[in-house]
Symmetry: C2
Subunit: 140 residues, 2 copies
């Protein structure tokens, strides 16, 4: 049994062709962050028969099943209302997006994570989730 199948079953999802294709693509592509359309195109280009609506549906299911993470990065200019998805490998990390190249760098900082917890606590809350994105440009 291929690796993707068990992950799908574990998530309570039937092992269908589209679901397996999408999961496989995310696991093997070198571009870790893809939009629904990126995924749709990549699969169609590779000769798969799949609908864009299905890609969106599967991605939501994967997100609910915690197989993927969804992000909405600004493209700096404010436009880009497009969500992108990446495999959820368990360990949390934040992102840095280069406004010139579009490059996405992942990072994790213990100190910041701790401060975030403290700040939430100081206000009487506890963190459910958080997002932190640094929009950067190459240092001259």
């Amino acid at each position: 049994m291929a690796g993707e199948s068990s992950e799908l079953k574990k998530a309570g999802l039937k092992v269908t062709h589209p679901r397996r294709q999408i999961l496989r693509l995310l696991e093997t592509t070198e571009q870790k962050h893809m939009t629904a359309d990126d995924i749709y195109r990549a699969l169609v280009d590779r000769g798969e028969e799949i609908g864009l609506a299905t890609v969106y549906r599967v991605l939501s299911q994967f997100e609910a099943a915690r197989l993927v993470r969804k992000h909405v990065f600004d493209d700096g200019t404010g436009r880009s209302q497009q969500a992108c998805y990446e495999l959820d490998e368990g360990e949390h990390h934040d992102h840095m997006v280069c406004l010139e190249s579009g490059e996405v760098v992942e990072f994790f900082d213990e100190a910041i994570e701790r401060r975030q917890e403290e700040i939430a606590r100081e206000h009487g809350f506890e963190i459910v989730d958080h997002s932190m994105v640094l929009y950067v440009k190459p240092k001259k």
Copy 2:
């Protein structure tokens, strides 16, 4: 001359009725974060004659002129593709959104800001902008 006028002129924008209304609303409302539609409705309800398209246009101009800041918060459930705006009072701050009440709390933490700079530098970048949102719930 009313306060809004000079701010508009300083930004190089003609002092028109819609622009003055929107700026005034943002300066006086107690709900600091409003969507374009919130603003449109608030003005129409108060009897002003304004178009939604104008609200969007004016908000972009204000954003470009650094009179307001635009944010796109997840509503936790992933829906909310809606941007909200707040007056840009100069001093930067981040946000904490309560997923149960929708309440938005602003905060600023020197230590986190410093770490962010360092992290960007370590990767050969410099920060242009950043967004950090903590999605929280009341501590039990």
